[in-house]
């Protein structure tokens, strides 16, 4: 046993010890970088610290990170640290490289790290960055930064202070650090995206409330013998369907139902403009075709070809007589005690496309009659198999349930049952005009 103890004594050189100490220090720095990464999600702060640590551990003069711009398919200088200063401004937005261009471009394209002893002997080296940065690159290690969603960028460590070029050991350490840098970049991107998503979601909530404020305060309206009830369900938070009830002249009620082309925010904004235009241009006018002509002129310079399909009814609340104009809008349904008629009256093109002389058609309601005006989202509703409800099937259903007191709700229930949880592809609007 005594002789074994003697054998445990080993003599090592000072160089060997320094080497071991360096490795321990390197490992400690890697652990430190790892804890920094999990402590903050501030991308700029994080990358500056990590790069500073990388420069220190590698005993290097400079460190830089280039980000991959997926849309442009180029890599862009994001950060560069030389000496004590961050020189990102000198290179940012000024130096961008094609895939394959320069050493960083080559690394990004091939997804392989490189260790270069003398860059000026390497034909891939892009000298412009040195000129802009007033710096002389000699030796470097370049490593691709790869995350779960693919290439993020390229990290480079430049010019060792204590020797002429980097060793394979240095390359190994830098690659380990780069795995952490990739995680840091990806984490902070996920965080930024989630913050942006949350901001967007909050903005949409506000837009949704604002948009509802453009519609009539209550979906039910009664004047004389006319009873109006409506439902509006946007496919997304906001939508492009419109309905409005107004009193254009004494004793008349005007009911507009419309559908702006497109969906979402652009349609919602355009809908807000149209409803303001409509309220202004329909004042004191009892002829729907005149209102349409005025609206059509106002919408003729619509952005990106946007247009409005609409039907506008002006009903005399004493007599039940009504005039209606249609602009590319689906037929309305006339529900009587014994039947349901599809009212495909002469129609002009949608509003906002071309100059057109709209006409109107005149009818009279009898006691118990209802008019059902809808947007195409009602009969375009899809079920989980992707089949559309269709206009014919909708009409058949209305025929079956025409005696229901709450026809609007009965149709909404029918559409919901048909959709059976399938995602709504379009806004749904239904308005019933009932003559009691």
């Amino acid at each position: 046993m005594a002789s074994k103890k003697n054998c445990d004594k080993v003599t090592v050189s000072a160089d060997y010890l320094r080497n071991i100490e360096k490795k321990v220090e390197d490992l400690e720095t890697i652990i430190e970088v790892s804890s920094i990464i999990s402590s903050t999600l501030d991308y700029n702060k994080l990358i500056s610290i990590v790069m500073e640590k990388a420069k220190h551990i590698m005993q290097a003069e400079a460190c830089s990170i280039l980000q991959f711009d997926k849309e442009l398919n180029r890599i862009v200088f994001e950060f560069a640290i030389t000496g004590q200063r961050v020189t990102s401004n000198a290179l940012k937005d000024k130096v961008t490289l094609d895939m394959g261009q320069g050493i960083a471009g080559w690394v990004a394209e091939h997804l392989e790290p490189v260790v270069i002893k003398d860059v000026y002997l390497d034909e891939r080296f892009y000298r412009e960055a040195d000129k802009l940065n007033n710096f002389k690159t000699k030796s470097l290690i370049a490593v691709p930064l790869v995350g779960r969603r693919g290439l993020l960028g390229v990290a480079m460590i430049i010019n060792p202070k204590d020797k002429s070029h980097f060793s394979d050991y240095d390359a190994g350490i830098f690659q380990t650090l780069c795995v952490q840098i990739s995680t840091a970049i990806e984490n902070s991107r996920f965080y930024t995206e989630s913050v942006q998503m949350e901001k967007f979601r909050q903005g949409l909530e506000i837009a949704s409330v604002l948009q509802k404020s453009f519609l009539p305060e209550t979906p039910i309206f009664k004047k004389g013998n006319l009873h109006v009830s409506a439902a509006n369900i946007p496919a997304e938070k906001v939508g492009g369907d419109i309905y409005d009830f107004i009193e254009p002249v004494n004793g008349s009620i005007g009911v507009l139902v419309g559908d702006v082309s497109g969906k979402g925010i652009s349609a919602a904004l355009y809908m807000a403009k149209i409803i303001s235009d409509f309220r202004y241009k329909s004042k004191m006018i009892e002829y729907p075709e005149v209102v349409f002509k005025r609206l059509n002129t106002g919408l003729s310079n619509s952005p990106m070809g946007m247009f409005l399909t609409a039907s506008y009814f002006v009903v005399d609340v004493k007599t039940g007589h009504f005039s209606v104009s249609t602009a590319g809008h689906p037929p309305f349904l006339w529900v009587t005690k014994s039947d349901v008629r599809v009212m495909d009256i002469p129609s002009g093109p949608p509003l906002g496309i071309l100059s057109y002389e709209y006409t109107s058609s005149d009818f009279s309601l009898k006691s118990g009659d209802s008019l059902l005006i809808l947007t195409d989202g009602v009969f375009d509703a899809k079920n989980p198999k992707g089949e559309r409800l269709g206009f014919e099937r909708l009409v058949a259903h209305v025929k079956e349930y025409r005696q229901k007191e709450t026809l609007v709700q009965a149709i909404i229930d029918f559409v919901n049952d048909f959709s059976n949880g399938a995602e709504k592809s379009d806004d749904i609007t239904l308005v019933e005009l009932k003559w009691q």
Binding site: G262, M304, G305, S347, P349, P350, L354, D376
Partner: protein, 109 residues
């Protein structure tokens, strides 16, 4: 959606295949607005292989039509499938677009 542009003597034909909706229409818009920018005299859209078009897609054609009309250009539609024609008829867009049975008819009109 797939867009295929071919230049012929006297007109440019754009063949579209697939669905023209909110997501695919920006690519179509780029193609059509480039035509309008170059002040192409006659553009014929071949809709034979279009499976579906929504109102965003229609608005894209409306925008191109308005731009082309402003310099005297013509945007014509050819080989419109029944399902698309139903949407055009329903929305009275047959009053907006010049629609032809074939590319040849559109070119010779």
């Amino acid at each position: 959606m797939k867009i295929d542009t071919t230049v012929h003597s006297g007109y440019t034909a754009i063949s579209i295949a697939g669905e023209i909706d909110m997501y695919s229409s920006p690519a179509l818009r780029d193609t059509l607005l480039t035509m309008a920018k170059k002040k192409e005299a006659i553009v014929i859209i071949n809709l034979k292989d279009v499976k579906y078009i929504d109102s965003s897609g229609i608005a894209t054609f409306v925008e191109a039509l308005k731009k082309m009309l402003s310099y005297g250009g013509k945007l014509k539609m050819a080989q419109v499938p029944d399902r698309v024609m139903e949407i055009f008829n329903f929305s009275k867009l047959d009053k907006v677009f010049d629609i032809y049975g074939s590319i040849e008819d559109a070119a010779n009109s």
